[in-house]
Every structure is written in C-alpha cells, then in structure tokens.
C-alpha cells in the first residue's frame, strides 16, 4: 500500500524531529539539533530491516519515492519564498563563499589523489577488461540526478 510508505516516512520524520528537539533541550539550545539527519538514519535502518524481512513492497516504495522525487520542486518553492531583496544587499558573500568553497575542494581532490598514489584510469580499466574478457565493455548506469 502506498500509504504505508508515506506513513513510514512520516513516522521517521516525526521521530527525528522529536529527538532533534529533545537533543536541543538537553544541550540547552533553542534549536532542532540534527533532526532531519536523525530521521534519515531511521529511514535507512527501516529500509534495511524491511529488505531483510522481505517486506519491502512496491506500494511502500512508491509512497516514499514519490516524496523523494518531490525534493527539487520543493526546494524551488522554498527558494521562491525567501527574503531575497534583503539578501541581495549581501550579494558578494554568495560569490566569494561559493567560488572559494569550490576552489578549495578542487584543490583537495587533487591533493588526495596525489597522496594516495596512482590508480588505474578509466581508460586503462576498460582496455584491460576488454582484453581479458574479450567481452563487451561493461555498461555503466548513469547516476541518479537529484
């Protein structure tokens, strides 16, 4: 049933929010501490449990995945209702923080790559696999775009 998926998601979200609030109180801040993250962990755990028990039905999956696929449209709606007029006054902050973060991360990709030694490139892997298997080159699934 689709509703069971939606309900599972709702229970995980509520539990996460509740624990996040509790954590906030325990730590003495007026904030929800990591509620969304905690809820995600519940959902991942629930999925594992359901898969093991073979209880993961199509309807249940549909119920959760529908809301997952709704995530970008909801973020668009969220963006459309912010106080951008006030934010525009702080414009340069966006460019400096955004570009800076990317630059630093690019540098770290290069650094980690150098530190951890050489590995086979994609071309070499494919060449080797083509030789040894003499079979069609494996098809790579394209990544999920979210």
């Amino acid at each position: 049933m689709t509703i069971s998926g939606v309900a599972l998601l709702a229970i995980c979200t509520l539990l996460g929010g509740f624990l996040g609030d509790l954590l906030g109180v325990a730590l003495g801040v007026k904030a929800n501490v990591g509620g969304v993250g905690i809820a995600m962990i519940f959902l991942i755990a629930a999925r594992l449990w359901l898969v093991r028990r073979k209880l993961l039905s199509h309807g249940l999956k549909t119920g959760v995945e529908f809301w997952g696929s709704f995530y970008i449209p909801i973020v668009v709606a969220m963006a459309a209702q912010q106080n951008v007029v006030a934010a525009a006054k702080g414009g340069p902050i966006v460019i400096i923080a955004g570009a800076g973060a990317v630059a630093v991360c690019f540098a770290m990709v290069a650094l980690i790559g150098r530190l951890s030694g050489r590995v086979e490139t994609m071309d070499e892997i494919e060449a080797r696999e083509a030789e040894t298997l003499a079979a069609p080159v494996p098809q790579f699934k394209s990544g999920r775009v979210a």
Binding site: L9, A10, C12, T13, G17, V29, A31, N32, V33, G34, G35, V36, A39, M40, I41, E65, G68, F70, Y71, I72, P73, I74, V75, V76, M78, A79, A80, Q81, Q82, N83, V84, V85, A86, A87, K89, I93, I96, A97, G98, A101, V102, V104, C105, F106, A107, M108, V109, I112, G113, V119, E120, T121, M122, E126, F140, S142, G143, R144, V145, A146
Partner: protein, 254 residues
C-alpha cells in the same frame, strides 16, 4: 478574472504545484536549449525561484518572496519547513548501504572534509562580511556545503530569512561552478579514475553539480561521483545544525 483568482486562492497548494511545475519545465528547456545541458535544469529552477522571490519582494514589499502574492501563497506551504523536511528525509530511502561500503574509507574521508572545509570557509566569509551571531554564521557556512544543508540548518537553528536566502544562493552558485568548471580542471586534479571520482563526489557534495560536472568530463565516472555525493546532504543535515553549530557557538560565545 476575479473568478480565476478565487480558484487560485482557494486551491493555493495546488496552484503552487502547477506554478513550480511550469517553472521546472521552463528551466529544463532553458538547460537543454541555452546551456546544452551544461547547467542542470534544477539549478536553473532554483535560481529562477530566487529571482522571482526578488521580484515578488520588490513588488509586494513583503518578506516572503512570491508567497506574499495571494494567488501564490501556496508556495509558502509547499516550500515550508514541513514538506521540505519530509521530502529531504525521503531521499535517504535510495541510499544503499552495500554501495556505501564500496566507497570505503577514502570516500568517508572525502565526505568529512567536503562538509567541514566548505563550512569553515563559509563561516569565515560570513564573519568577514560582518555577521557575528552563531545562527547566521552557521547557516551561511552550511550553505557553502550545499543549497539543501543551508536552509535546513537555518530553519533548525532559527536563522533569519535573508540569511537563509544567502545560504541557498551560495549553495546554488557552488553547484553551478562545479557543473561548468569541472571539465576544465579535470585533468589538473586527476579526475580520470573511479577513485578520484568518488573523492570528488564526496568533497563537492551537490549531486546535481557532481553529476553534471562529471557527465561533461567523462560519462563513465558519473555513478562513482554520485555514489559518495548522495551521502553528502544527509551528513550535512546531521552535523551542521548540531556539532558544527555548537563549534561556532563556542567560538562566538553566543
């Protein structure tokens, strides 16, 4: 005309679905025909959303972007904290623990660094621009992680709407640079094997940025990058409003 607006107001959430749907479709078309797929439709849609919020703010003089227009009040519900958290939690359902193990230690290291390093940078930039309260600093820092982590964190710890808008814009800008810039620096940073693609995905984070950037570099690397990038938002939503917020609070003494 009044009848039409009555229908729109009476069905505000449905109106919001239609409006956002049209915006997404338009963005997809812009992505396809004007940027040749270079910039992902979702990034364009979010930028358009911010732009519309700007216009809405100018037009109504209000603080809630287009949601201040009576016909589009449903946008406020659709993009509000309730449905947003619900949808973000749902994305965790697609996380496969078996795949997670494949990414291994190096993926985990990249993920950790990819969260903490942009955060620190964002906080420093925000501090340089005169923000002193822990909530604003944390939210802008979280925006430098991804455009999701920013608003989730901001809403959780109670940051103001302009600061949340800044954090979304920072995250979107980051995603766009990753999409456009990756092919140009790919060679320099050794982006030609699955492992560096996983490191890349973990460090950059934004799934749309990573998959767009990798697709333009080498299509075969996309699944490896997306593998680690999918964990990025969840990790960010977990640590930014908690550990990182407390670290900032401890420093600012808020």
């Amino acid at each position: 005309m009044t009848m039409l607006s009555h229908v729109l107001v009476a069905n505000s959430l449905i109106t919001a679905f239609a409006a956002v749907g049209i915006l997404m479709w338009l963005s997809g078309a812009i992505s396809k025909y004007f940027t040749f797929g270079r910039i992902h439709g979702s990034a364009i849609a979010i930028m358009l959303g911010l732009a519309l919020a700007f216009l809405g703010g100018l037009f109504t003089g209000g603080e809630k972007g287009v949601a201040d227009l009576p016909a589009l009040a449903g946008i406020g519900l659709m993009g509000g904290a309730m449905l947003r958290d619900f949808a973000i939690v749902a994305t965790a359902f697609e996380v496969d623990v078996v795949h997670a193990r494949k990414a291994g230690l190096i993926g985990a290291v990249a993920l950790g660094l990819g969260t903490v390093v942009p955060f620190i940078l964002g906080v420093l930039v925000a501090a340089a621009f005169g923000y002193t309260d822990a909530e604003s600093l944390t939210t802008i820092g979280a925006g430098a992680v991804t455009y999701i982590v920013g608003p989730v964190t901001g809403a959780a710890i109670g940051a103001s709407s302009p600061v949340i808008a800044l954090s979304i814009a920072t995250g979107v800008f980051k995603a766009v640079i990753v999409m456009i810039g990756t092919p140009f620096v790919a060679k320099m940073i050794g982006l030609d094997n699955p492992r560096s693609a996983m490191v890349f995905g973990g460090l950059m984070g934004t799934v749309s940025g990573v998959s767009g950037g990798l697709a333009a570099t080498d299509r075969r690397l996309v699944p490896y990058g997306a593998l680690t990038a999918t964990f990025h938002t969840g990790l960010g939503c977990l640590v930014a409003p908690s550990i990182l917020y407390f670290a900032v609070r401890a420093i600012t003494g808020g």
